[in-house]
């Protein structure tokens, strides 16, 4: 049995220990906001927080997350109140196809938590692991800057 706390909820899971966390989140827990993009930690679409740190869940064996606190895209809003990064994404009209955006948002949330006033270089280096095939990098950056500047509040 593997124990996970996902978005505040405890789960006991009977899964093979080498199963990537991504597939446990998507298939066993039914939380499909976290996406599969590459399977080799190259695109960032599967980014979740493991004990508050961004990780690529596609290469994280579930056993290594045993007992950990996991946060997914479904877990960052406070009830009906969007996380400021989510709100900034709407304000800047960031997503196009939207498939990478759960991962982008999880990376941005982690960046801003550790570094509330990131420089351009900080943003580039924190976000370079997340591919957006629709090429919305300038809007993602503006969204992050909007939160950093305090233009967006909760909700």
């Amino acid at each position: 049995m593997i124990k996970l706390n996902v978005n505040g909820k405890d789960h006991d899971l009977d899964v093979a220990p080498d199963t990537p966390l991504l597939w446990v989140i998507r298939e066993n827990l039914g939380l499909t906001g976290t996406k599969f993009g590459c399977g080799i930690s190259q695109c960032g679409a599967c980014t979740v927080h493991l004990n508050g740190k961004p990780v690529r869940s596609c290469i994280t064996p579930v056993a290594s997350a045993d007992g950990a606190m996991i946060t997914t895209i479904e877990g960052i809003a406070r009830g009906d109140e969007l996380h400021p990064v989510q709100q900034a994404w709407i304000d800047e009209q960031v997503p196009q196809c939207g498939y990478c955006q759960s991962g982008q948002i999880m990376s941005a949330v982690a960046l801003l938590r550790d570094n509330p006033r990131p420089s351009d270089e900080d943003i580039d280096s924190a976000m370079a692991g997340n591919i957006c095939r629709c090429g919305m990098y300038s809007r993602i950056k503006k969204g992050i800057q909007r939160v950093a500047s305090g233009e967006v509040q909760h909700g």
Binding site: A16, T19, P20, W23, E27, N28, G30, L31, T32, G33, T34, K35, F36, G37, C38, G39, I40, Q42, C43, A45, T72, I73, E74, A77, L82, Q86, W89, I90, Q93, V94, P95, Q96, C97, G98, Y99, C100, Q101, S102, I105, D120, E121, I123, D124, S125, M127, A128, G129, N130, I131, C132, R133, C134, G135, M136, Y137, S138, R139, I140, K141
Partner: protein
């Protein structure tokens, strides 16, 4: 679908002038009653094919296009809602169901009447024919940047205007007043003389029984209240909280998971399958022979993937097992040479007397260019959920052509079309890739074989190695120059003509032109890729014209302008982008500006790329875009499409290469098929010209000019002319952008 004949459209009585377009969206005989069963819920009345209004005055726009991030559904809703005079806050959209009645009539109209340029939207990778006339009647395609310029202009606006007139006619009748005394505003019909004012919903049922007007009056741009404004995209809120459902997210009761390995060498078949080891693995359910691929079904995707890796598969030989990209490019040149010797090169454009012009030329310039195969690499790997049971097949997937998929799946399973359903989902990227039904057909065959609902997910490796690729093309140019160095003849020979037909053609005023091509088929499957043939020919033409500018000793911007002086829209975008880029000011050491112009999908785009090249390291600092789409329905949406098109084009130009070794694709994932990431992404500035010319597309026109503007900038900075993409093939480091160079 034989009823949709040319005659059928014309007998609508609406051909000629603006009436032509109207008759397509709203057919005589009123087809709404037949459509209501597909889209109308309780308390809703279908006003016409593309809009419904419920009892609470909520307007639903029924959009026959997929949402893959281009914002088409919101823009189409804007077009319909504006003509309807609806209250924007009360407008939502639904995607049209995959039924024949909801085919993209506007596309079909243009195709049949031959008055619209319909780009390559259809599959056709096997027989090399993009346009398959027999399938034109099953079009429900999102591609060719057609949503706004075809469906929107010829369908949505007309439908909204017609609905408004039907509602007004109903109000006039029930109030006993003349319709000329009525006006509408924000979803209300208003009779000022009596002070009467009622919501549209009050008249919806009555209006639904009326025959639609064949020529509703459309607004003029000064009357627009919703078009031309930035409206937040209706699909975005669900894309920031993980709730947007893509094909890969669909869950069906009792569903199992599958993954697949297709024959590594295209055209090869399964010779033998040994699943003895795999069948002992946890979660394994079944191995399925798909003839040209092998699938494993298991309890979960990971288990399916592990088990598939343990299946030993041998494949038949095709004779292509030693082919390389170099062989294919050699073949292209050999086929062109052979056609020139035999006189079999196929005519594309012939103007003036090219051979005489070359004979009399002061100087002749010859240059050859080439570009590789490219994968689409949608962020969402190919997938589909299929449930085949009791003689029916239900498919859930993200598709650019729901109706086409329905016919393709029915044909593959030898089922009646009426027994197949397609439920479209959000698309995690399309770019042309999701117009091919291969994954949906595989899922259906697997489900049929195992007797269970199945979610098929391709690995990224499968996605990169079994795409329908942007074709590799070689293109050879010759120009005859006069004594002043100006071109008097243009000759261009290339391989493999697809769509749009005008992609290799030039607007430049060169008196003698000969453009011709040869077919040079390979075993590599191909299909439409964002901007289709413009993606290659944009690079070729705008590179060669740039070289000719330098040969003439002229500034590349002024040279283009001089050869385009009768094309006012082209000159306007060139002038605007040059002005915004301060083209005439010095840019500094180790830096360069490049310019390119491209007309595609009805829109005209000029781009300037600014680069810094220091010690071989190429940094793309800034891209400026000037675009004339005729009219920007959603200015911010158009900007988003330009930004997206530029980054897509930049990825291709800097690194994009699918190469063939041993008959198969060498690349497999983002580690060896890299993408532009945030740390390499330039600043992008977009400037819009609303010329009010015929409205053009947005999804593709930003892509083709990016590569030549980039390579022209690299030339300006370094003197190195890039004639083969990607740029990474040259002695440049293109790995990341330097900070603070702008």
């Amino acid at each position: 679908m034989g009823k949709w004949t040319r005659r059928g459209f014309i007998t609508a009585g609406v051909i000629g002038g603006s009436a032509l377009v109207i008759g397509v969206a709203i057919r005589p005989g009123h087809r709404a009653p037949g459509l209501a069963k597909f889209v109308a819920g309780p308390e809703e009345t279908l006003i016409n094919a593309w809009v419904k209004i419920d009892a609470n005055n909520q307007v639903t726009v029924i959009a026959p296009h997929s949402e893959m991030g281009q914002g088409a559904q919101t823009a189409l809703a804007q077009m319909l809602a504006d003509e309807l005079d609806a209250k924007w806050e009360d407008v939502s959209f639904m995607e049209a169901p995959a039924e024949d009645e909801f085919a993209n009539y506007a596309l079909g109209k243009g195709f049949i009447l031959g008055d619209a340029k319909i780009p390559a939207l259809l599959v056709g990778s096997v027989d090399g024919v993009f346009m398959q006339v027999t399938r034109a009647m099953h079009l429900q395609i999102t591609g060719g940047s057609t949503s706004i310029r075809a469906t929107g202009v010829y369908g949505m606006r007309v439908a909204g205007a017609a609905a408004r007139e039907m509602l007004m006619a109903s109000a006039a009748q029930s109030w006993g007043v003349d319709v000329s005394e009525l006006k509408t505003s924000e979803g209300m019909v208003i009779h000022e003389a009596s002070g009467k004012q009622e919501p549209y919903s009050r008249f919806a049922a009555m209006a639904g029984k009326l025959k639609p007007p064949s020529v509703p009056r459309l607004k003029t741009p000064d009357q627009f209240t919703i078009m031309g404004r930035n409206k937040p995209r209706l699909d975005i809120p669900s894309k920031v909280d993980g709730s947007a459902q893509f094909g890969i997210d669909v869950v069906v009761e009792g569903m199992k998971y599958a993954t697949v390995n297709a024959a590594p060498v295209f055209g090869s078949k399964v010779a033998n399958i040994d699943s003895s080891a795999a069948s002992k693995m946890a979660g394994f359910i079944e191995v399925v022979n798909l003839d040209d691929a092998v699938a494993v079904v298991a309890d979960g995707y990971w288990q399916a993937k592990q088990a598939l890796a343990a299946v030993k598969i041998s494949w038949t030989e095709t004779g292509n097992e030693s082919l390389t990209s170099e062989d294919l490019f050699d073949q292209f040149q050999a086929d062109m040479k052979r056609a020139n010797e035999s006189g079999d090169s196929r005519k594309d454009v012939e103007i003036g007397n090219t051979s005489q012009a070359f004979a009399e030329a002061t100087r002749i310039v010859e240059r050859n260019y080439k570009v590789p195969y490219l994968a689409h690499a949608c962020m969402e790997p190919m997938n589909a959920v299929a449930r085949v049971e009791d003689g029916k097949c239900d498919i859930w997937t993200g598709t650019q052509n729901p109706l086409g998929f329905k016919y393709d799946v029915a044909a593959a399973l030898e089922m009646e079309v009426s027994d197949v359903s397609i439920t479209n989902q959000f698309l995690g990227g399309g770019f042309g890739r999701r117009s091919s039904a291969d994954a949906a057909i595989q899922a259906a065959r697997i489900s049929k074989q195992v007797g269970l609902p199945v979610k098929l997910i391709w690995s990224r490796e499968e996605d990169v190695q079994h795409d329908h690729y942007r074709p590799a093309v070689a293109s050879n140019f010759r120009a005859a120059l006069d004594e002043k160095g100006m071109p008097v003849a243009w000759e261009n020979q290339y391989v493999d003509k697809h769509e749009p037909v005008e992609a290799p053609h030039i607007s430049y005023a060169i008196a003698n032109q000969r453009i011709h091509y040869v077919d040079s088929p390979t075993h590599v499957p191909f299909g439409p890729w964002r901007s289709v043939d413009h993606s290659q020919h944009g690079f070729f033409v705008e590179s060669f014209i740039d070289e000719l500018a330098y040969e003439a000793g002229m500034d590349p911007y002024k040279f283009r302008r001089k050869l385009l002086k009768h094309h006012t829209r082209q000159v306007a975008v060139l002038d605007l982008v040059a002005e915004k880029a301060n083209w005439n000011s010095p840019i500094g050491e180790n830096r360069g500006r490049g310019i390119a112009l491209q007309e595609s999908f009805g829109s005209i785009v000029a781009e300037v790329v600014e680069v810094t090249v220091r010690e071989g390291k190429v940094s793309v600092d800034r891209v400026l875009v000037a675009v004339d789409p005729g009219f920007a329905v959603s200015p911010d949406g158009l900007k988003a499409q330009m930004e997206s098109g530029v980054i897509y084009g930049l990825t291709a130009a800097l690194y994009g290469e699918v190469s063939i070794q041993n008959g198969r694709v060498s690349q497999s994932n983002f580690d060896n098929y890299p993408m532009v990431r945030m740390d390499a992404a330039p600043e992008i500035e977009t400037y819009i010209i609303n010329s009010h010319a015929t409205w053009g597309g947005a999804g593709e026109p930003g892509t083709p000019g990016t590569a030549p503007a980039l390579t022209n900038a690299i030339f300006a900075a370094t003197g190195t002319r890039v004639r083969e993409l990607p740029v990474s093939k040259y002695e440049f480091d293109v790995s990341f952008r330097e900070e603070n160079e702008v």
